[in-house]
Symmetry: D2
Subunit: 444 residues, 4 copies
């Protein structure tokens, strides 16, 4: 079967590359992936998938960090002007840009889901010819939106997996689910898909990423050390006053924010594991001679465990509220992102490693890597495991031109077919030998 | 003579109002008063004044807070498109938007100078019909530029004084100087006119303002309590790093700025008089998950005396440098404004009060008012006094619709002729009875 | 009469010096002036004064900064061992160490009161022979208690005034009151005498001090610029935890106090006048490797007016409570001192100046001096004025060997008879010419 | 052999307990263990050991946190008064209270060293009868010095090991070294013994502790997670000034220290491992109304690795210097303690575990425990390993009455013979089967 899957994959090699470059060129940030999502939905439908989109797969209450209505409208127009299918776009209206494709074999068997993310970063792509996408004409045409993390490749991989599995549908059992998630950057989107029920029935769940510090041909399959995290914006509202004439009448939001920032960074280390805190952005005040009546700052806390992250978040709330009280300013806190810390299922990790050994292009399998970052696929992993399923997060190595989130970021595109082959083999072997959802075939 | 001056003033009443509204409608911020200055220069020339402009009256080295070249160029184009005379505008090119008109009687006598300022504030004017300028169609057509401090009236008063005195030139002695200063807001312009020599030969100097909390018919003539001030921008440059993956590699400019802000406000009170400090604006960092590598903040210190202001400024420098060192960030400090603390000459204050008693519309003369602000006319006052001359700063009351610097600010325009009458009477009586520059006529 | 008063004063010159040196040698801090007060009470009684002491003249509820019971007991024993009269001491028991002597002439007339203070500072007196009190054998024998502010002279002056007036009782009208106040240092005692009613019936009130920067022969009679002040101790109680093993379990009182200290100093300047704030002492934590669970700090705020001081105090409370909340520590605030800002009555100042011109030794009378300190006689001055009386605070110059509160502080004792002569002349002239309490004799 | 060693140990059971209680009763803090060390030296000598003490085994330059000369002298007198041998005490004069006993078998073989520590804590022992040492009459008679960490048992164990091994000397090969270290609390003593050469020739090194959370019968033999640490005192010296009269003339050491404390706690987390920072004590200022001219604070930083600790220390220095500069105060930094992070040698850990299985009283052997603290035996472990030797740190469980460093701390004394048996068996088996220093006998 691996030869057959390889052949099917090689057949669409040009498409895989073309798709990725097209997504790269039309990079769309979180919650505005109107064009990307409409292309994904169209293709899934054409390959025989049952397609769910929009509010069916996104729970409005749990979306985080959604842009303002004006931005959503403007980006919708932009997407349409860049060729997005108006019928699909309408269903994504308001920023409900998630897509789920379902391939039901009609035979009893486990439900296996693959999750990829589609959003770009709010970064202006490098425009010099030393940057290959620019030189070869596929760098982002959308200002301040760039695929600098590889989600364009993820979307392409998701489509490749969908296509290949559709071609061997009659050799599969159970149900295949392809989940295309919006707004992973800032860990804003996954929770809303979980509470919309997207992974409620999933027995086997695999989320993927490309890159990090792994080279092409490496697979990281094991503990990735994702930190739990909470991301939130704080707004302080005080009272302005002339700094020369009536300084005592002001309520100084800038000093409140400065006090909060310093004391947030002074939150105690935790003896049970790693923690992080950062005030990554702060803006306060208007004129030089006015006591600042307004401040906004962007905070994130992290923890090696969900419990440590909760400790950090609770301490942060206490500090932020107290600093506001200190300067008699009003405070508003808006959670804009969150992720959990979870570990992949050992059995599934072991199974995936077994499969990967059959892939010629994979020469190294690492069983752990300390990313030091956060991922909201953890919401899905956690949910699947809580309901008795198995879940894993794996990374396909690919040689990078620059680090993730750098304006010069680019990948070795050969990672795309490698990932398609590995994931389709996992799907085939996970579902074809048994109907007992949790016993993997040891021979594969 | 007062009757004659009154009549001359009443004759141009409509013009005074029209000029003010025209300047209001075409409000221009500091250093980009291209249109305003070219109108002033044209009129002075037409009334027989010798006109000096541009680099003749502005010393490039001492300009503070000048906009970037692109902004200057763009505003020059805007001014031209709003009807500014291209020949004059060319002489103001690069933001040298000062004008000085000289009326030499040819007879021996003192040199008396009047200084008005021409710049608007960086404020968006209120666009509701409850705001009279909007309702009557003369609110600012330039976005984010508004005459919310009355400098439009000052310019109109300056023109009125120039016109009236030109009509009685043969009854005057000595020299009359009309100084139209750019960029008073932020106390950025006066020093550059002083070091260009504009007040070197001045024996009697009067600067004016309208409004504050004085009503129409009031004159504040005495101690105004201007504080010395230094205004400066600080830029910190550190190193970015991923806040989750490599926090220890960052050099945190935001925390440096927060530390500086707090400690700046904690500078000790001074036993010899009032002081002030404000960090009125702070922006730091980019992304939430990046250790902030950049911060900019805007500071001002003030002192009841120049010496106290120097104390505040020296302490501030020490704190700003040390906070930078603490976080190993680079620091850049840019002085963008400065003013001195000075007092008006007692003899001149007394003289002006005497004259004001002859003006029917003035019913109240206050001898002191605590403004609590700063004014760069103090550079001129200080310079004139140091060279043996007499100088004063006076305020003509006018009922306001909202406080200074408010987007709803408007004045009672009747203050304009009152000021013209008072100042022209001062000019007449200061020069007509004697050739000894410092003996005022007690009878007038 | 001045000759007579001078003669009476000269007659007791040796006693005045002896008394002062005795008080100096047996210096007693605030609320433990057991020996000093018992000597004062005895003498007043022997000179025919009606004497009120202890709880009659001190309201327990309004005493501030009273030492602990053990200290009071121990100091009582010390006083007895140093010769204090046990009967009087018993009435001062518990630290009620105030004395009021009343000389009622039986004739209608105003009530005139003189207030002196009796307490020493918590300072160890210099023990080198370069310090005259040590060299001449009258430096303090009580460790860490020293008359370094001149209250020993004040007490001696008070006795001198009492004696001289008792000798001319039949030439006086109205009522003479001599108020000997405890615990002026730290502004702790006056309020409790005011609320005990001590100055309720006073028409003319004069409080005195010696020294400052005035030389012997100078009198400062006018505006002294006393600031209102509130002095308080703060205790934070958190939770200890091992800083290596369980840092997250601590509630850090030290960081709470550091945050409070910084932000207290950053309280806004006030546009209506001077203000001050100081955290003069801070102690927090125990061991290096323990999260500090305890902090204590001593704060004072001041204001040019009582209202500004209230502003400072309210802001301080807000900051102190919020910093406690920030670190989840308990807070306790204990007010240990307070004074008002008041001005002397103009008429009385003028009257005293008139009298002082008759004193040969006084060669200079200044009408203002900016002390920059606080004084709780202001409570009495304020109370007398509120009830329609006149009150003043004056300073008799005396050449100092070192500044106030310095361990080498010493005075020129000739200030004592000068003060006695001036004050007795004031008493005589204030009461002898009229029965209308508020009309001073302009001839005197 | 184990039976023989057990018998020898049981024979001295009463002595082991008596010794421990004697040391407990005469608890001596770091660098003043005059009595304890003299008893140890006497016994070692009497058992045939070559004894080195004082400056022979302590390098003066590397001692940290040594008390002042007066304290050393006073404690020496106290020790003599409590029966310390004057001849030995003289050799410890100046606080050189280390003892090393050497037993040379004369036969080729490895050098095996055991290190115990002798110092008490600066804690006042509980004096209630609920505390067994008090009830049974052996609680500390030295105020504020208490064995609340078990070093009294360690010293007793060291003596027991020395005695037992001296009894089987003819069955041993190589060299036995017993190291009795002063001043482990505060990690002050070990470095000075290392640089004096005490472990230069050691092939096998074992340091021990009793207690932590392990019960009697447990042995923790493996990774203990000691953090590297640096401990230091900071003194700031500014300028005092009256807070009301001349606040601007002060240099505020309290605010400098508050700023330093806050920013020290805000030092970035490190991505490569755990870190810690604590300002455990801070005292600043004198009087409430004086700008504080002095501050002292006690700091410690820790790191999971020596490199992370170095990062923390360098950042701390930068912050402390910059906060001093900010307030123009002088700074003095005094390192008073330091320890490294190291891991025990795997081979030695394995060997000790093997031996422990032969000890009946040991029922559980744990291979790791996260102490979260620091230990300066790490200097010795690191040095031995760097020179090719093997080194380990092990913990013998003992049921505690209260946690370490608690005033109610007490142990189950049965841990003493257990430790003696285990360590002597290790010594016997490590040296008796081979002359190759690094090959342990697998059978034992």
């Amino acid at each position: 079967m691996i030869e057959h899957l390889s052949k099917l994959t090689e057949n669409i090699y040009q498409s895989l590359i073309k798709w990725r470059r097209d997504f790269h060129k039309h990079a769309e940030s979180g919650w505005v992936e109107f064009r990307t999502a409409s292309i994904v939905a169209s293709k899934l439908l054409s390959w025989g998938y049952e397609v769910h989109v929009g509010r069916d797969v996104i729970n409005e209450d749990d979306r985080m960090g959604v842009p303002k209505t004006e931005v959503l409208e403007q980006e919708k127009k932009r997407a349409l002007s860049q060729g997005a299918d108006p019928e699909w776009v309408e269903q994504f209206s308001g920023g409900f840009t998630g897509v789920v494709g379902i391939l039901d074999t009609g035979l009893p068997g486990p439900t296996i889901a693959f999750r990829v993310d589609m959003d770009a970063l709010d970064i202006q792509e490098a425009l010099s010819n030393e940057h290959r996408p620019t030189k070869e004409g596929f760098s982002s045409i959308n200002a301040n939106m760039m695929h600098a993390c590889g989600h364009d490749a993820h979307t392409s991989i998701g489509l490749g997996v969908a296509y290949v599995l559709s071609q061997i549908k009659d050799q599969l059992k159970g149900i295949i689910k392809l989940i295309f998630q919006p707004a992973e950057e800032g860990v804003r989107g996954a929770k809303s898909m979980v509470t919309a029920g997207v992974v409620d029935d999933v027995d086997i769940f695999i989320a993927i990423h490309v890159g990090f510090e792994a080279e092409l041909g490496e697979l990281i399959c094991g503990d990735l050390g994702f930190m739990a995290t909470t991301k939130f914006d704080v707004t302080y509202t005080g009272e302005a006053s002339h700094a020369g004439a009536r300084p005592e009448q002001g309520k100084n939001a800038l000093l409140a924010a400065a006090t909060a920032a310093l004391n947030l960074h002074a939150i105690s280390r935790h003896s049970e594991g790693y923690s992080r805190v950062n005030v990554g952005f702060l803006q306060a005040g208007n004129g030089r001679n006015i006591i600042p009546n307004q401040a906004i700052f962007k905070v994130e806390v992290r923890g090696e465990t969900t419990s440590i992250n909760d400790f950090m978040y609770q301490k942060a709330l206490q500090i932020i509220q107290s600093a506001a009280d200190m300067y008699e300013v009003e405070v508003n806190i808006d959670i804009v992102g969150a992720a959990k810390s979870v570990e992949s299922s050992e059995e599934l990790i072991s199974f995936i490693s077994q499969q990967a050994k059959h892939i010629n292009e994979i020469h190294t399998i690492q069983d752990s890597y300390k990313l030091g970052g956060s991922e909201d696929a953890t919401y899905m992993i956690s949910h699947v495991k809580e309901r008795g399923g198995h879940a894993a997060y794996i990374v396909f190595g690919t040689t990078l031109s620059a680090g993730h989130h750098n304006e010069q970021f680019d990948i070795d595109e050969n990672v795309i077919p490698i990932a398609v082959k590995t994931l389709t083999l996992c799907a085939y072997n996970a579902v074809s030998y048994n109907t007992n959802r949790m016993i993997y075939n040891p021979q594969c």
